[in-house]
Amino acid sequence: MTAHLTITKVGPGATLQDQGRPGQLANGVSRGGAADPLALLEGALLLGQDTAAAAIELATTPITLHTRQHPAIIALSGAPMRSDLAWNATHILPAETQVSLHPGREGIYSYLHIAGGFLTDPILGSRATHLKAGLGQPLQSGDYLRYDPKAKATADLVLKATTPDQTAPIRILPSVQTALFAEAERARFEAATFTPDPRSTRSALRLSHDDKGFEASGQLDILSEATLPGDIQITGDGTAYVLMPDCQTTGGYPRIAAVIPSDLPRLVQTPPGAPVTFRFISRAEALSLHRAEMTRRKALSKQISPRLRDPRDIADLLSYQLISGITAGREEP
């Protein structure tokens, strides 16, 4: 049995995402998947399910959706949005309920997860929309999204979410063409303060800064070769682009550096206007940071607890039946 949610209204930049399609680079398909894999993981952990489950990714775009004849348990993660529902938490949506989410001030990518995941037909083993590769379509008003109403999950759980220091430099490693940039140019890159350009996409995050562009001084006849998310390409006009999950599999622009994987979620969540700086670190340091972060993520479920609700925050308090029955005297739930 499946149920469905109806998307009554959605802006541009809403897609279904999961962990993407690893293993398809040789076929010209980049991995894709959630722009913020950490937020995808946090939502999955809240619902106690596999990170392969597909969720709605909202890139600073509003959405209104409706449950129909079945209730649904959802989780919200990533960039906090304005709504009646608490963020980094699970909620039960009774049947015939409407939920509206509006972009907030922090972050870019927000996720709405559902118990059991959204059930579209997978392509190449994934439900992730990869527009650049022509896989899937953006979500549109009027779309139905199927889910399993029997999937088990617990409502009113909350995750003590990761709150990274947004002002710390993004750590980078040298890449294959770093040496083509003169030392002074690399130093200028490290000293520069960038900010994400609003024209950024799921393919590339464009960085703007006030000074002149960056220029490779070595050999510029670069034969097209493999590219990966996190690579920082310098285009012909000196602009820096950080490749995102839907990037092309190959490219011919010189790469000045690569963002370490554990700092990518923080970078992709930086809104236009907020400062971004970079700092080269050693491979040994990058590896130890990566492993520490992966160990931390494995233990994230310990940060989940029942949400203690203050009656003053319950907008529909009077609709709850507050005085019937006898409790065992234990705390909720």
Partner: protein, 284 residues
């Protein structure tokens, strides 16, 4: 969020900005466990092995388009696929290089780099030859201005007739050098120097799926409709990506394609067949 202009994916020759100086001739490598760059003295040190981010390694066999280097890359990747070093999660091949990825939580990427150095030195990959299971494809293509609107322009820029251009392009099989840009999309080459034309300065706003486009001694066959800086000189009904099929990506790097010239009406009747009338046999 608005779309960025598409980043060119295949840049063979990039002009240096006016007045820029070729400051360095030496190549550089990264020392283990540090971000310090050390110059290497050798002028040519291929295959060249360098980290690509934390979890990727790039093994390059040349820095320009070269069939022997492409063969070496394809052979090297085939060897990695049949006998992967510890920790390899994924490999792919570009025009003259191989990407090798690992999971850094399970594998020290520097150990993988060392294993790839040993592997690179274990054979003469340039002389190895292409893998045996390659296919030779015969793909029907119409070279007719009705469906190939830039055929005449391309031929006249080369100073030959459209018939001669078609004859030269269909004369011999072309190798699938790599797959990229879009799912299953092949880059084929190398065409003879006589057919070398740079990209056009303006984009052709939209070519259909199956379009055969040409520039920089290469041909690519479009997976999906889109803009291109290459010239549209032929049209096939072949689909590079066939989702739902047992073999969603019919073409593999190392395969060869020979165009079978057909009429425009035949291409139109083949449109229902995702294979577009293509046949294949083992490549010798």
């Amino acid at each position: 969020m608005a779309n960025l202009p598409a980043l060119p994916t295949l840049t063979l020759i990039r002009r240096r900005p006016e007045g820029s100086v070729l400051a360095r001739q030496s190549r550089w490598s990264f020392t283990r466990g540090s971000a310090i760059l050390k110059p290497m003295t050798q002028a040519t040190d291929f295959p060249r092995i360098a980290p690509l981010g934390l979890e990727g390694v790039l093994v390059s066999f040349a820095d320009r388009l070269d069939l022997a280097a492409n063969s070496a890359a394809i052979a090297f990747r085939a060897a990695l696929v049949s006998d992967p070093p510890d920790g390899v999660t994924e490999t792919s091949v570009s025009l003259a290089s191989v990407l090798v990825c690992c999971d850094a939580t399970a594998t020290d990427p520097d150990d993988l780099i060392e294993a790839l150095h040993r592997r690179a030195q274990s054979a003469d990959w340039y002389a190895k030859g292409l893998p045996k299971e390659r296919k030779l494809w015969y793909i029907p293509a119409a070279f007719d201005p009705e469906v190939a609107p830039q055929l005449i322009e391309f031929a006249s820029l080369l100073g030959i007739s459209p018939a001669e251009l078609t004859a030269r392009i269909t004369a011999a099989p072309l190798r699938v050098l790599t797959i990229g840009f879009a799912p299953g999309q092949p880059y084929l080459g190398a065409l003879p120097e006589r057919l070398n034309l740079p990209r056009q300065t303006d984009l052709t706003p939209k070519v259909p799926a199956g379009a055969l486009v040409c520039a920089v001694r290469q041909i690519t066959l479009f997976t999906a409709p889109g803009p291109t800086g290459w010239r549209h000189i032929g049209q096939t009904a072949f689909r590079n990506f066939q989702p739902g099929s047992a073999t969603p990506f019919p073409l593999t790097a190392g395969d060869e394609i020979r165009w079978r010239p057909v009429s425009t009406s035949e291409i139109k009747t083949l449109a229902e067949d995702p294979m577009g009338g293509a046949t294949h046999e083992p490549a010798l």
